[in-house]
C-alpha cells in the first residue's frame, strides 16, 4: 500500500480501443496502487438496435441479423432463433435437419472454444503462437461452414422448420475427418498450456466466482459449470435431439480462471463425442418442413421463448406475435452480456493485469453484448 495517492483511488479508463479488451468494451477501473478496488463496465459502443430492427423486419428477415449477434457462432444463433419461431408457430422439424443442427452446433462449439483458448492465452501475453494454432483448427471448421452455407462466419443457414442447404456425402466425410483429427490438436494444445507454470500462476485462484453468486446473477454456460453448478440446457431442456446422444457435463471445483479455461478444453472433448455419434447416424430425408412458407410467414398470436445452450451460455429469443408479418416484441437473452455482469465481483482485489485475464475467461463477444 505504499503507492497510495493520499488515500485516493486512481481512476483508469481501460478501453474501448485496447487490443485485448475483446472489442469495443470499456472499463472504468479505480485502482489502489495495482489493486482493483472498483470496476465499472461501460458498454454500448457497438449498439446496433438489433431488437428494434427485429420488430420491424419480417420473421425471416431477422435470421441474417442473428448471425451478427455473436459472430463467432452464427449457427447456434440461427438455431436459437429458429427454435423460438418454431415454438411460436408449432412447426415440426424433419429428422435430418435436427441432426444437421446438432452437428453444426457442436462444430460451432469446437471452433468457439478453440479460439477462446487462443484469445485467453493471448491476453496472458502469449502473443500469436497459441492463437494461431487455435485459428488453424478453427479455419478447417470454417471451411466446412463455407462450403455448406456459402459464408464462413455469417452462415444464415437455418430456416424455420429445417435448414437451407442439404449436405452431401463428401461434406460429411470431410466433417468426419476433421472431427477425427481434432483430438490430436486438443492433446497438443493441452500439452502446450495446461502444465505451463506461467499459465498456472496467472489463472489459478484468480477471479473466483462462487456458485451462489453465479446462480443469483443468472450466469450460464461454461462459466456457471466451472463454478460447480450442474446446469446444461442440452441436458435440462433436451431440445432438438440432444437426449439421444451420450455425453457428460464437465464441472469445475473452484470457479477460478483456470477452471473456466479447463472447462472449455473438456467441453470440446464432449462435443467431439456428440459429433462422433451424430455423424454416422444422420438419416436420409428432407431437410425442411414443406408446410412452412418462406414468404408471408405469419405465426399465430401468442408468445414463445426458445433457448439453447450456445457455446457461451444460454441464448434465448423471446417473441410475441400479434399475428402480423413481424414480431410485436423481439427480445434476445444474450449469454455474454449477462455473464459480464459479475466482472466487478470477480476482479475486486486482484491486480490490474488480472482484469484482462478474467475478462478473457468470461468469453464475451461485443456484437452480442451490445446488440
Amino acid at each position: 500500500m505504499s503507492s497510495r495517492l493520499d488515500g485516493e483511488l486512481l481512476e483508469v479508463s481501460m478501453g474501448p480501443q485496447h487490443p485485448s479488451t475483446h472489442g469495443v468494451f470499456r472499463m472504468n477501473v479505480a485502482l489502489e496502487g495495482e489493486i482493483v478496488r472498483k470496476l465499472k463496465p461501460v458498454f454500448g459502443y457497438l449498439h446496433r438496435n438489433h431488437e428494434q430492427i427485429g420488430e420491424h423486419t419480417s420473421y425471416l428477415g431477422s435470421m441474417p441479423y442473428t448471425d451478427r449477434l455473436d459472430y463467432f457462432c452464427s449457427m447456434t444463433n440461427n438455431w436459437a432463433y429458429a427454435l423460438s419461431v418454431e415454438k411460436l408457430a408449432g412447426i415440426e422439424v424433419p429428422e435430418r435437419a435436427e441432426y444437421l443442427r446438432v452437428i453444426l452446433a457442436e462444430l460451432t462449439r469446437l471452433q468457439n472454444h478453440a479460439s477462446l483458448l487462443g484469445f485467453l492465452l493471448s491476453d496472458m501475453g502469449a502473443w500469436g503462437t497459441p492463437l494461431m494454432y487455435a485459428f488453424r483448427e478453427r479455419e478447417k471448421i470454417l471451411d466446412l461452414f463455407e462450403s455448406l452455407s456459402g459464408s464462413r462466419m455469417m452462415c444464415d443457414y437455418m430456416r424455420f422448420g429445417g435448414c437451407r442447404v442439404d449436405v452431401d456425402e463428401a461434406w460429411l466425410g470431410r466433417a468426419k475427418e476433421i472431427v477425427d483429427r481434432f483430438p490430436k490438436f486438443l492433446d497438443e494444445f493441452e500439452e502446450l498450456i495446461l502444465q505451463n507454470e506461467i499459465v498456472i500462476a496467472r489463472t489459478q485462484h484468480v477471479g473466483k466466482l462462487s456458485p451462489e453468486l453465479a446462480i443469483t446473477a443468472g450466469i450460464t454456460g461454461p462459466m456457471l459449470r466451472a463454478s460447480g453448478v450442474n446446469y446444461d440446457i442440452r441436458k435440462v431442456d433436451g431440445y432438438g435431439i440432444y437426449p439421444r446422444f451420450k455425453f457428460r457435463v464437465p464441472l469445475g471445483d473452484h470457479g477460478d480462471t483456470y477452471d473456466r479455461l479447463m472447462m472449455r478444453a473438456l467441453e470440446m472433448r464432449e462435443s467431439i463425442e456428440i459429433l462422433k455419434q451424430a455423424l454416422p447416424q444422420i438419416p436420409a430425408g428432407p431437410i425442411v418442413n414443406p408446410k412452412v412458407k418462406l414468404r408471408a410467414f405469419r405465426p399465430p398470436i401468442g408468445e414463445a421463448y426458445g433457448r439453447i445452450e450456445a457455446p457461451k451460455g444460454e441464448l434465448g429469443f423471446y417473441l410475441i406475435s400479434d399475428g402480423g408479418p413481424n414480431p410485436y416484441r423481439y427480445r434476445v437473452r444474450p449469454p455474454s452480456f449477462i455473464n459480464l455482469t459479475v466482472l466487478e465481483d470477480m476482479c475486486l482485489g486482484h491486480v490490474v493485469a488480472d482484469v484482462m485475464v478474467i475478462l478473457g475467461s468470461i468469453d464475451i463477444v461485443m456484437g452480442e453484448v451490445d446488440r
Binding site: G61, M63, S147, D156, R164, E191, N196
Partner: protein, 211 residues
C-alpha cells in the same frame, strides 16, 4: 520441477515449426494474390441478375415483381417497374425493371432475395475483389453492372445452374404443352362445330350436343 511445463510447451512449438515444412495439416496458408484456393460451389457474395441469350437488357429474367425489394432485410434493392412489357423465356409478355439498383455497401449477403425470387432471376455472385476508390456511387451497382449472362452463372455455380436450367426448361415445356393442348382443343372444338354445322339434319348426336 519448475519450468518443465514451459519446456514441454516449447517442444510443441518446435514440433509445429518443423512440422510446418512437411505436414500439410500444419501449414494451411496460401500466398493469396499469387495462389488462390478454389471457392466452394455454395460460396456467396453479392447478388447479380441473370440474362439469357446475348443481349443483357433484352434477355433479363427479372420481371420487376419487387418481391426481393420487399423481402430484403437491409432494404438495399431499389426497383422501378417498366411501363411496357417484353416477352420472357416462355414468350409471355412481362414487365421488366426500368431501374434495378443494389447498394452493395448495405447488402449483407444473406441470400434471401435469391430464395424468394420466383423467376430464378437473381443469384449470388462469387466476385469478392470489389475494392473501389470511391465509396458511394461506385458501390451502388446499376442494372447494367448487375446483368450477367447465364453462361457466367454456369461457370460459378455449375451444379446449381444446371438444376435451375432444368427447372426452367421443365416449366417452359409444361407451358408449351399447355399451349399446344389448348390449341389442339380449340382446333378440335372448331372442327366439331364445323362438323355439326355441316350436318344436314339437326338430329342430335351425342358428340355434337356436347360440343
Amino acid at each position: 520441477m519448475i519450468g518443465m511445463g514451459i519446456l514441454k510447451g516449447m517442444a510443441v512449438t518446435l514440433r509445429n515449426f518443423a512440422g510446418s515444412y512437411f505436414e500439410k495439416d500444419r501449414l494451411i496458408t496460401v500466398q493469396y494474390p499469387e495462389e488462390r484456393s478454389p471457392l466452394p460451389e455454395n460460396y456467396r457474395n453479392f447478388p447479380f441478375l441473370i440474362f439469357d441469350g446475348n443481349d443483357p437488357q433484352a434477355g433479363l429474367r427479372c420481371v420487376a415483381c419487387q418481391i426481393c425489394e420487399k423481402e430484403c432485410p437491409p432494404q438495399c434493392i431499389y426497383i422501378t417497374k417498366s411501363k411496357d412489357k417484353k416477352p420472357d423465356y416462355i414468350g409471355k409478355p412481362q414487365f421488366y425493371p426500368a431501374i434495378f439498383d443494389i447498394d452493395i455497401s448495405v447488402c449483407m449477403s444473406c441470400q434471401i432475395c435469391v430464395e424468394v425470387c420466383p423467376f430464378e432471376a437473381i443469384k449470388m455472385d462469387k466476385d469478392f475483389e470489389l475494392s473501389k476508390r470511391e465509396r458511394f456511387d461506385n458501390l451502388l451497382f446499376r442494372k447494367e453492372q448487375l446483368s450477367k449472362s447465364n453462361d457466367y452463372y454456369h461457370k460459378i455455380h455449375p451444379v446449381e445452374a444446371a438444376a435451375v436450367d432444368k427447372n426452367l426448361a421443365d416449366a417452359a415445356a409444361v407451358a408449351e404443352a399447355k399451349k399446344k393442348a389448348a390449341a389442339e382443343a380449340a382446333a378440335k372444338a372448331a372442327a366439331a362445330k364445323a362438323a355439326a354445322a355441316a350436318a344436314p339434319t339437326p338430329v342430335a348426336s351425342p358428340e355434337s350436343t356436347s360440343s
